[in-house]
Every structure is written in structure tokens, then in C-alpha cells.
């Protein structure tokens, strides 16, 4: 027997979650688009520093550019 949805989920609650997931997804896409646009227009330069780089930062693509 499949599980029964015995709780009244209400239509508004369900639609709201669909809308929110779309909204959150939209924000992520917008953020991605914006960061790509900014990095295309203003390419990042490696900051000059004496501090030793961490393993993680060494693996960042930008960190290997001298």
C-alpha cells in the first residue's frame, strides 16, 4: 500500500513551495549570470601578497595565473 497523504497540505502551501523554488532558482541563475558578466568585464588580477597560499587557493583557477 502506498503512503497516504493524510495531512491537508493545502493548495497554497504546495504552490508557494513551487513558486519559492522557482524564485530561489531564479536568484541563483541571476547571481551566476551577474558574476560571469562582472568577471568578463573586469577580469580579476591576483592580489600581491606575502602570505602563504593555502592548498585550496592553489587549486583555484585564478590562483595559478602569475
Amino acid at each position: 500500500m502506498p503512503p497516504i497523504l493524510y495531512v491537508d497540505a493545502t493548495s497554497g502551501g504546495m504552490v508557494l513551495q513551487v513558486l519559492l523554488s522557482g524564485f530561489v532558482g531564479g536568484i541563483v541563475v541571476m547571481k551566476l549570470f551577474w558574476s560571469n558578466l562582472v568577471s568578463a568585464i573586469f577580469p580579476q588580477r591576483k592580489p600581491e601578497t606575502d602570505a602563504p597560499a593555502t592548498t585550496d587557493s592553489m587549486e583555484e583557477p585564478g590562483a595559478t595565473v602569475s
Partner: protein
């Protein structure tokens, strides 16, 4: 043979389906003697075994999020399985045993701080479950209980595998049972306890939305969870929309985002309440320090002598005597009608007294038996009797303010306890004088003699202790 049968009949524990456990068709809670059992049907039992095998149950239990579950195998107790099947007339595939929660309480007994703690706890359970590929299929506040000041999720059968793309079915219920009542108090300063006591399904979005002003409606969390949800509920018809909504997947990351967003909103809420007389009462007691010290000592020694398993402090205020009693009692349920005082006590005992449960309870109108067939949610008397009660500085409020005859007070006391201490505050006391200053004194029978007579009708008065430096008298009484 006859004797053996009779002995078996006498010793076989009574099996009773919990009257509040009927909504979920996949199983239910059973009382068996003093034990709390849960049965599962075949489908739900498979889910339980999977949760167990994957270590999810163990992890949730170890972190204190959910109550423990000890499976009882059918072959180890076939008689129990047969008895539970006969009582429930259900497909019983698995029975597990849970540890007993010392005292059952409901959201309408909890001050703001406790309901918020319970709400965050519910979200924590859901978040951990989602991260492990499970979900919680509903979100009623009745699925949470307090052991002392710490919340615990008790409806283990609510955990089920998460189906990728499905929205959280318990979301609207969570809003009705937790978020909306808390918003009502935080944003409007209106107590939710009377509302939840009347409406066991909580406060719906449309109702709350009507009560909020424009400024509050424009707050981001409120706009989404209350205003937008109420509008969407009105806009879409349930059946068709549910089918269409179900067709659109909601990624688990979005549900996790929803859960974390709601937790942030809840944590940022502050209770909005006026300062009541009773919040500062203990700091400005209306009698001498000598009387106060003697009263504390007397209460402590009396409770220490009895060591009651369950003690109720009736009219506890901010719990001065509850915390003293908790040193020697197994469990203390501290009750007062003043929500602010009980909220303060909760903050005080959380982290320091694991055996004190503070509750909002108006003793002039205690919780009734209610819900379906008036047995789903139990009234105060049905959750007793206590082994011992403290009724300190209480009787004059019930008798002078509430016009409760002393004889009736004695009768009520005998229905809820076996023993205890009550304090008689005479008419000459400044606190009684204050009560009488705004009403005619029609209480001709309000005397120490009449009080003793009312108490003696139901109990044996073991000791009469006049508080030094005061005209107040403490009575220690035990059942006949």
C-alpha cells in the same frame, strides 16, 4: 487450572489504543500497563527497518532530536502482537517501545519561549532527515513533547523516505501550528494559548493575515508565509492545483532553503508582552525575610521526606519553590496562569533543571478533555493525579478573586493529588486586603477554621505550620 487462569487475567497488562492516536493510518500508540508502545502496519514497518538499517534513527536519537524506539520482535512476544492486533483490529507488522514522557503537555500549555523552541526543534528534525534522504510527513505541535525543559520529537512514524521533487507536505501545517501563533504574539502582542486551546488545528494564514497591519505584512518572512500563502489558498482550488503543483518538482535544496529561512525567522522573533505583576512578585514578596526563609526550608524538608515521583506546583509564579522541590522530587510540573512568569521560569530552568516542566495553566479554568470525542487531548485532571502538590499563596486567589468555596477547593484537590502542602493566607494579609479593595467582602466563610474543615473532609492534616513573622499558615496534608 482455574486459579492459574485467574492469576493470568489479573496480571495481563491492559492494552489500550491512545485516544489521540488515530489520524495516521500507518500505525498508532498503545498503552500497555505503564509502557508506551507503537505499532506499524507492513508498509510503515518496512520504512522503520530502513531507517534503522541506514543508521538514521540511531543518529536522530543520539542527538536528542527524537524519542528512542526499541523494537519488540514478533517471535519474542507473540502474545503481545496478538493482543495489539485484537485491540486495534489492524495489520500489526511491528511493535516498538518508547520511553515514557513524564507529563504530556500541549502547545496551548506552552509559553512563547517553549513554542518557539519546539518549532525550531521540528525544523531541526526535518533538516537532518532531509540530509539523509528522509522527510517528516506532517508538522503538528502534538508530535513534540517536553522532557523537563528539553523538547523531543515523539512521532517516529512521521519519518518517511523523501521523494525527490516533492514539496514538504507538512509546510502549511507547520505554519498553522507553530509559525502563525508565534507571529501573532510577537507582532501583535496577542497570546495564542486561548486560540490554540480552541482551535486544535492552529491558526490559518488567512486569519492571521486579517489581524496584521500593513507594516507587519510587508516584513519579508511574514509576506511570504502568511500573506502570499493566504492569497494562494484563496486563488487556487485544492484538488486540481495539488495535481498541477505535484507535477512541478521542488528540489530538495529549495525545501532545505525554506526550512533554514523559517528557522532564521523564528529565532529572530521576540515575544511582545506587557510586564505583569507576577514577573517581579518573587523579588518583592509581601512578607518578612524570616517568613520567606522558613517557608523555603519547610517546603524543602517536606518534599525531601516524601521524595515524590511527580510533584505539581500550582500557581508557581517564577518557580522559586518548583526549583527547590526539584532537588528532591522526580519530576516537577510548574503551572501558572501568567504566561510571562512561566516564560521567565522556562528560560531559568533550561540548561539547569532537567526535571522541571513549566506550563501555562489557569487553575480557574484548567485544560479540558477535548478534540475528537473529547478524548484526543487530555485535560489536566486526566493527566494526574500527582503524588504531591504545592499550593502556595494560591487559595486566596481562587477563593477571593474566583469565588471558589473552600469546600470545593478541597474536593478539587482530592481529585488531583494524594498529598501536599497548601498555604492559607488570612484576610488580614496585605495581599488579601489588596484583592478585597476592589470588591465587596462577601467571603464570610474565608477563615482558617473553615479552610481546615474543608481540607479535613478529604485529607488528613499531618501538620499545621504558622509561618514565623507572618499570619500565614502552611498545611501539610496526606490522603486518608
Amino acid at each position: 487450572m482455574t486459579l492459574a487462569t485467574d492469576v493470568r487475567r489479573e496480571t495481563a497488562p491492559e492494552i489500550r489504543l491512545d485516544p489521540g492516536s488515530f489520524r495516521d493510518p500507518s500505525g498508532g500508540v498503545i498503552h500497555c500497563g505503564g509502557r508506551i508502545l507503537r505499532y506499524y502496519n507492513h508498509h510503515a514497518a518496512e520504512g522503520f527497518h530502513r531507517l534503522s538499517a541506514e543508521g538514521v534513527l540511531r543518529d536522530l536519537e543520539a542527538s536528542g532530536l527524537i524519542v528512542g524506539s526499541q523494537p519488540i520482535e514478533p517471535r519474542s512476544d507473540p502474545a503481545l502482537y496478538a493482543a495489539v492486533s485484537a485491540e486495534t483490529r489492524a495489520d500489526v507488522a511491528l511493535i516498538v517501545e518508547h520511553p515514557r514522557v513524564p507529563f504530556i503537555s500541549y502547545a496551548y500549555d506552552w509559553p512563547f519561549e517553549m513554542l518557539r523552541t519546539a518549532a525550531v526543534h521540528q525544523l531541526d528534525v526535518l533538516e537532518v532527515a532531509l540530509e539523509r534522504g528522509y522527510t517528516v510527513k506532517d508538522a503538528t505541535s502534538y508530535n513534540l513533547q517536553f522532557r523537563g525543559p528539553e523538547p523531543v520529537f515523539i512521532d517516529v512514524a512521521s519519518l518517511e523516505p523523501h521523494v525527490e521533487g516533492k514539496p514538504w507536505a507538512g509546510y502549511a501545517q507547520f505554519c498553522r501550528m507553530f509559525l502563525n501563533p508565534l507571529l501573532l504574539q510577537a507582532l501583535r502582542g496577542v497570546s495564542y494559548q486561548p486560540w490554540l486551546r480552541h482551535s486544535v488545528e492552529g491558526i490559518d494564514a488567512a486569519t492571521l493575515s486579517r489581524l496584521l497591519g500593513l507594516k507587519n505584512k510587508m516584513r519579508p518572512g511574514v509576506f511570504v508565509h502568511v500573506v502570499l500563502q493566504a492569497w494562494l489558498n484563496r486563488r487556487f482550488s485544492a484538488g486540481l492545483t495539488l495535481q498541477r503543483a505535484a507535477a512541478r518538482p521542488v528540489p530538495m535544496s529549495a525545501t532545505l532553503g525554506l526550512v533554514r529561512g523559517m528557522r532564521k525567522l523564528l529565532v529572530a522573533l521576540n515575544q511582545r508582552r506587557d510586564k505583569t505583576t507576577w514577573v517581579d512578585y518573587e523579588a518583592h514578596l509581601p512578607y518578612a525575610a524570616e517568613a520567606r526563609a522558613a517557608k523555603e526550608r519547610y517546603v524543602e524538608e517536606a518534599v525531601q521526606a516524601v521524595q515524590p515521583a511527580m510533584l505539581w506546583d500550582l500557581g508557581c509564579n517564577q518557580g522559586l519553590y518548583s526549583t527547590i522541590a526539584a532537588r528532591h522530587a522526580g519530576y516537577v510540573v510548574a503551572m501558572d496562569f501568567d504566561e510571562a512568569a512561566v516564560g521567565g521560569l522556562y528560560e531559568k530552568v533550561r540548561g539547569s533543571h532537567d526535571n522541571v516542566l513549566p506550563l501555562v495553566m489557569d487553575l480557574m479554568n484548567p485544560d479540558p478533555d477535548q478534540g475528537w470525542a473529547q478524548s484526543e487531548r487530555r485535560g489536566l485532571a486526566a493527566r494526574g493525579p500527582a503524588d504531591f502538590v504545592l499550593g502556595l499563596a494560591l487559595v486566596h486567589h481562587l477563593s477571593i478573586s474566583g469565588n471558589v468555596p473552600l469546600r470545593k477547593f478541597g474536593e478539587w484537590l482530592s481529585a488531583i493529588t494524594h498529598a501536599g502542602i497548601v498555604e492559607f493566607v488570612p484576610k488580614s494579609d496585605p495581599m488579601v486586603q489588596r484583592l478585597l479593595s476592589t470588591r465587596p467582602d462577601v467571603h464570610t466563610d474565608y477563615t482558617a477554621e473553615a479552610f481546615e474543615s474543608a481540607l479535613s473532609a478529604r485529607f488528613r492534616i499531618a501538620e499545621r505550620y504558622p509561618l514565623p513573622g507572618s499570619e500565614r499558615i502552611l498545611y501539610r496534608f496526606i490522603g486518608r
